[in-house]
């Protein structure tokens, strides 16, 4: 379900983009699922076509959806690949933690600190 609240301080395109991104990432929307056309979604949500177009464009730039010409927009496999990369990185991290003898609670605190400080970029080898 997508909800657009006209009274929200968040711009409608961002409300739409964030909800679609979340649903793609938590797999509510499966890879390959066909999204409504921009015109149709704009009519459903009472938004301008440009507003929906902007949200779709940003999702496409983030690799979460792909547009296949006139066939429409589909959920891309990129989100799934990203999740797989994160799983592999987590397994590597767990191996490092075990080898240096840090306990699990502290390891989780380290990850949380890294996420909070925005240092989630891949570490150099």
């Amino acid at each position: 379900m997508i909800v657009i609240d006209a009274g929200s301080p968040v711009p409608p395109f961002e409300q739409l983009r964030a909800q679609l991104a979340r649903q793609i990432q938590d797999r509510t929307l499966a890879v390959g699922a066909r999204l409504p056309t921009i015109r149709h979604l704009a009519a459903d949500l009472g938004l301008a076509v440009n507003t929906v177009g902007r949200a779709y464009r940003e999702l496409e730039e983030a690799g979460l959806i792909e547009t296949r010409g006139r066939a429409g927009s589909f959920v891309a496999a990129a989100g799934e690949e990203g999740r797989e990369r994160a799983r592999r990185a987590a397994a590597d991290y767990a191996a490092v933690i075990a080898s240096v003898g840090i306990d699990a609670a502290e390891a989780i605190r380290i990850v949380q600190a890294a996420l909070t400080s925005g240092a989630a970029a891949p570490a150099s080898p």
Binding site: V3, I4, L29, A33, L35
Partner: protein, 273 residues
């Protein structure tokens, strides 16, 4: 359902009562109906009533086209039989245009209702015909059209004179009904969602399912062969058309018994997306 005022006056109490009944029938009666729902259901009820009148007009037009070719009628022989068929075709085009206007009326009321909502909700994936109509209903609608068409063609091939003319009238009417159903289904798929929360989104899907199944209801196609060709066609053909009717009724009962309720189908459609 949350209560969003549509206008200062609001819908008439009769429309609110009908909406309450509709909610109860579909097991959606968590609260009183909103003016939004009452208004949308009211326009659909009126359009459905006018749609029944259009079908009645189709029956009258087809019967007149048939009567015009009977022996003793002014246009009852030779090439003049083409005139009633042409008149019937023109009537069907007029009926289809009227149906399009009625659908546009529903869309206009929906759009106005949606524009008044401060919060809009929809599905991230568009519902297709399979979700709305349901495969069993779609198969049944297709099979009913195919059987009615086959009955018309078979009568056309094996009969002559008045019965042959009646078969042409039947085929024109069957094609008209099928075109009407396709146009309505197309319109329903393109019609925007009007909802403000999960409950109204479920109600919106139920309305679409009702509209879709109503537009593909088989009763007209069952009745047309019997009405237009009984007494003119050979005995085996009359038996086949009666068999078509009985088999159709049994299939419809089976589909209704086995298919999940409208509300269950709608909840699944909303929940899965």
């Amino acid at each position: 359902m949350t209560n969003t005022p549509m206008s200062d006056a609001g819908p008439p109490p009769a429309d609110i009562r009908c909406a309450e009944t509709w909610l109860r029938r579909h097991g959606l009666s968590d609260g009183p109906p909103t003016p939004l729902l009452a208004t949308r259901l009211a326009v659909r009820r009126r359009v459905r009533l006018l749609g029944s009148v259009l079908l009645a007009v189709l029956f009258v037009a087809a019967s007149l086209a048939q009567v015009a070719a009977l022996p003793g009628a002014s246009g009852g022989s030779g090439s003049s039989r083409i005139v009633p068929v042409m008149a019937l075709s023109a009537s069907i085009v007029a009926l289809l245009l009227t149906q399009v206007l009625l659908d546009a009326w529903v869309r206009r009321v929906d759009r106005r209702a949606g524009a008044a909502l401060p919060r809009r909700v929809t599905h991230p994936v568009q519902l297709g015909w399979a979700a709305l109509l349901g495969r069993p209903h779609a198969v049944m609608a297709g099979a009913t059209f195919a059987c009615a068409f086959a009955l018309g063609v078979s009568a056309l091939l094996v009969t002559e004179g008045t019965a042959r003319h009646a078969a042409v009238v039947l085929l024109v009417a069957v094609i008209g009904v099928a075109l009407g159903a396709v146009l309505q289904l197309r319109e329903m798929l393109a019609r925007p969602v009007v909802a403000e929360d999960e409950v109204s989104l479920t109600a919106d899907v139920v309305m679409r399912i009702e509209d879709a199944r109503e537009s593909s209801a088989p009763a007209v196609l069952w009745a047309l062969p019997v009405v237009l060709l009984s007494g003119f066609a050979p005995g085996w053909w009359s038996a086949a058309s009666a068999g078509f009717l009985v088999a159709g009724v049994l299939a419809l009962v089976a589909v209704h018994v086995r298919a999940p309720s409208y509300a269950a189908t709608a909840r699944r459609a909303v929940g899965l997306r």
